[in-house]
Subunit: 406 residues, 4 copies
């Protein structure tokens, strides 16, 4: 086949090169479902704060697959058996782990297809692809669902040290230019090991893991939960909610978006998936641009604000705003923009954001000592700071038009 | 003003930070005309080959301004007088030098607004902004048009060693991951100087300039003129040409794109500019996605191919293909796709690409020796290779459906 | 003067270029006392573990001066007045802060000139240079001794966020390749500020400081206190102690080293400084090579071990080894090497190492909030981990010949 | 053996990690002959110009071995058979290719052991080690001498694209900070191939090879043949020549250096090698420091100049200096320093330096096209500049005390 000669090696500014290891994976990458990820940005609207952050789910998925290859080689070199079939399965599982993501990554999940997580959709797409590829993804799906006996393989795909995180932290740090978030993926992977069918880290890697956890925490507060990023993303969520509310058949927008705003979203996956697979960032942004001319005051206003980067103001607090303050700002907003109380909800609202850099509850990161024992890193000597980081940090974000607080 | 507290410093993965130097420039950056550049990719469809290449004109313009600040500081430190007003003017000129770029950068120029260059449009936008900002861009425009007495200031904006090139080569190399194209901008700028009102390079920088020219040549053949990139870009050009040909009022597409496909493009700039300012990559891509359902066979086919990355095949030769071969491929294409001769033109065509890495004709790069004399780098001793690089390389690219040559 | 044309710009793999800002500083750099630092390695014998770590005090001093220039520009841009004379003084102070370092940096202090710290010697050298340069270092010395009214200037030279640390952490991380220790010096400096005549950090820099503290902790345990590095350094200390003990006038060694091993070290600085200024790493290493042929069993053995990298074994514990275990190992060593009890002390010994990544006691790092208040970073909300890091970690290192524990 | 647990992975600032692949190689690395390379700087006195350039032959040898591992994996993945034994042999050959280097790399060859090249010495050391290791280096030696049937294996060790060059160009560029010399070793290696038992480069790598050749040319003129570097190195050569001339038994110097300055250098390798293996940079530098007190005016003067970096002035010309000018400078020097005509030769001399960045004569770099044909890169279309670079550049360097031309 001629296809086997093309595109075997891709340039990656981070790892240098990413090699497509075999023909099945090549064909999956070529599939329109996967190519769509070229049009799904990894960090949504983060580029409004970090102008370099336009990288896509496509690139991240390939990067995570590249790291998976390294992880497999490392574990084998330490004597852990991973068959050829298992290797292919984990490579495909990580490649496809995000294939269910919608436009602007997490925005749709939080607005118009609110009942369905991207993980669930990713699994459904894997099943469809499995049919197309004659069952070659059976093992992939088993591992992805954590139904396969060798549990450590699933942990490479989903855990506190999985290849997903290792790639996205490094990649997001690289493209945003927030160099404090940089993670030495190569070193971390070189210290992975397996004990009791669990992924663990060789004890000498203790400081590298510590650095990883701190870098992750930093990326959360400086990028993923950056207040201006949140302001842009919630604005987009409100836009889609409002569009759904005022939806009519003749509303200007790309045809593929229409079913998701009407009440006609198919309940059956076999109907939903082909429709959903046509959606990408371009449709949402094109709709938003059309709606800057929409007759609904609220929708038009929200779209204008996002398009020209006139975002809502934000206040961050340890506790919720007082009812009085909230009411005062709502009142002012109603006056300034001539809106009723329902409409004000789109411009003034509060969100609670919680994050802990490390969790000892689920999938804790265990260190493996030379004597064969393992220990949660947060319990290891000298790691008081890690247990400190395991406590969740909770913040209250209040959003409002800047004009309403002057 | 509250605006002065926001967005003074931007993260840049390449330079670390870019500082917005003053309020006028801050307000220009905030202007919707400039914010639009966030939605114009720097390298068009290059991301289909180099999956990291999603960076935008917005980022490039800021990067070039950052380098301009460095260049001004360097020249001043070597005793060349540049007033505060001149500094602001060159900073603004380089910031706005690309503001006239349309969707996918060069594609529109080569299809639907074919009579108008982006440089001309940039100038017109500067004039409009000058009015809005009460004449504060007078000096910018004078320098941009090379009407200002100190000619070297214009050369910082437009010449073989201008800040535009220094930023885009470095940035494009960074985001594509083609590290051979990397240019040490910091070192090159540190060796800039002025002699006889011309930008020159201190003689000790001879090897750095040589490296710069070779890196530029490399970026041309590995990125800008990469055969698969060209295949994608010509496909997009053909799509827009075909869309124009089959245009009808009820054709699905974003409203802002419509006037450019009908015959209603305004001839008067005061009418054209506001329309053009609403266009960006999202409109073109959204239209293309709609047209995958269009009734015109050719348009539908071209859009399908681009969306799912089933690009045209390419042959690169030193001479044009023979008339016979061309005819044979056209014939085969007509059969395979059931097209008439006119329609085949959209799928089979030839383009001539010419490039020389260095030109001794215009704006040659002069070295400044300690004794005060200057010399074209291509004439300098030991630089036989530079004069070799000044000869243009001409290649013939033939494009065709892959099925037509099997 | 011809000297002004030379060496104004130095290449630095880390910062790109380091510019020598003026003629006085150029002449100080050219002075033999400063040139000597080219022959004093920054990290002593660390290269036996990290083979890239050959960088010198010379390079570090220039790097720290480079950062000082950035810090001064940052503080001025935030409205803090620093005069031309003050700028020159802090640049010189940081340039010369390590000029009193002896061979292999800290080794001599801990062996043959044990009563005298390198800080004290640096000050004495500054005084001598001040005489040579006609009092031009008056202000430098005042600031270095913290006798100058503007206290924040001294903190740029010596505090938990001084330019010394910022350079050495970054530089040591770079040359060892321990990338987890990398510090974003540019960002940290950009967030420095002054409040109440103290260096503080803008509150938005909270995560950058956190990352800095974690990186520092990591460098301590992975580099500065790496057990194999300590094994090599203590071996060298033991060598010099033994050489002093068995010293005789006809012992083979470079002439300049001789006075420091005899009992003839001058007590008067005016006599000591010229002698000390002739000593560098080459003398110590050349002596060590000679002593691999020395007749004293112990000295010869220690030198052999270090030269051929047959280092002592190490055990790291939270508590001291038991008296019995110590005695058993000493006994075994005495047998294997046929040594008496005094001699065994050179091969079997214990050292206590203590380190805390952050100290809230002295020179704490204060954050500056927008409302003008300041707060110790360890007290700031969400920073439980920093206060955890302020607790000292104490470890007991036991050293012994590997043959003695088999 | 306990040794197998130590030092299996080394940090490298360039490649991240270097893994020691097996026990034989580990034992070779541990051998005192190889450990000596820790004390032989890669770039001699280049650090007097580029203060970061202290890296050693030890690190380079390991780096080249690391690249060799990559090259072997690449060639195997393209279907070329390389046995386990052959792989080990080429790894060892490149590891040991510089083991015969003397202090300051090339200086000794050009002064006191002038008849013997380091390549010849490397071979002799391999033979000695082969005996020690019971013939395990047989195949290594066969390949090193190019006596093994598979010729392409030798080319990986010695040719215009060998692993030696790939590592040293990258490493020297990294440590000097001359970023223009940076070479993308990973990409170059990924495009290596074998045709007709010769190492070739896949045709698509044409621009990468071009960049490599230009980078190499740049490193020559900016680093290896930098005029100040040459001034320092020739000064050291003159010092050793003079020391040999005025040699006496009681001259102060490390004992191991003495035989090389007397006329007692053994002619037999079995006697020479153990002596030579004790020599390193520290001995030469320690001797030089002693001789700043030597009674011979010329020797003392040369040593002073080098130690305090008061180097000779240099003039670079396309032709030799005129006899008159030379005589005038010699005369002036004789007066200033009160020297006779013979003595003046140590301070005033001329050297001819020739370099060509690429050679089509020997081991040319061939491109491999898809149709299986190969072609010298200098002959390939568009590569006029490469053939230009194949012409040697010849320069005349005149050295003299700066005082003699004022």
């Amino acid at each position: 086949m001629s296809s086997t000669n093309k595109l075997k090696i891709l340039n990656d500014p981070i790892y240098g090169f990413i090699t497509i290891p075999n023909e099945l994976i090549f064909d999956l990458v070529e599939h329109p479902y996967f190519q769509r990820l070229r049009r799904i940005s990894q960090l949504g609207l983060t580029y409004l704060v970090y102008p370099g952050a336009y990288h896509t789910r496509f690139h991240h998925a390939l990067g995570a697959m590249h790291l998976m290859g390294k992880a497999v080689r490392t574990l084998r070199s330490k004597g852990h058996k991973i068959t050829q079939a298992e290797e292919e399965a984990v490579l495909i599982a990580i490649l496809l782990h995000d294939i269910g993501h919608g436009p602007f990554s997490h925005v749709l999940e939080n607005s118009i297809v609110s009942g369905i997580s991207h993980e669930k959709l990713s699994l459904e797409y894997m099943k469809v692809l499995n049919q197309e590829f004659d069952g070659q993804l059976d093992l992939t799906i088993e591992i992805f669902q954590n139904l396969y006996p060798k549990k450590f393989l699933h942990q490479l795909i989903s855990s506190q040290l999985d290849m997903d995180r290792l790639d996205y932290l490094r990649r997001d740090s690289f493209y945003t230019g927030v160099s404090e978030g940089q993670v030495n993926t190569e070193r971390l992977i070189s210290m992975l090991n397996v004990a009791d069918d669990q992924i663990v880290v060789d004890a000498k890697g203790i400081y590298s893991v510590e650095k990883f956890i701190v870098a992750r925490r930093l990326m959360y507060w400086q990028v993923y939960l950056h207040k201006t990023v949140l302001s842009a993303e919630f604005l987009l969520i409100k836009i889609l909610q409002r569009a759904k509310e005022v939806y009519s058949g003749d509303m200007a927008m790309p045809k593929v978006l229409s079913p998701f705003l009407s009440d006609e979203i198919p309940v059956d996956y076999s109907d939903l998936l082909p429709l959903y697979a046509k959606l990408d960032d371009y449709d949402v942004m094109a709709a938003l641009k059309e709606w800057t001319q929409h007759e609904d005051r609220v929708l038009q206003l929200l779209c204008e604000k996002l398009l020209h980067r006139k975002l809502l103001g934000i206040r961050v607090n340890d506790a919720a705003a007082s009812r009085e303050e909230m009411e005062r700002i709502r009142q002012k907003t109603a006056e300034v923009y001539q809106l009723n109380q329902d409409e004000v909800n789109y411009l003034v609202f509060e969100e609670i954001i919680s994050n802990n850099a490390y969790s000892s509850q689920q999938d804790k990161i265990n260190l493996l000592y030379r004597n064969g024992t393992t220990q949660d890193i947060a319990q290891a000597a000298d790691q008081l700071n890690i247990s400190a980081l395991a406590k969740p940090v909770v913040k209250h974000f209040m959003f409002f038009p800047k004009e309403s607080v002057q």
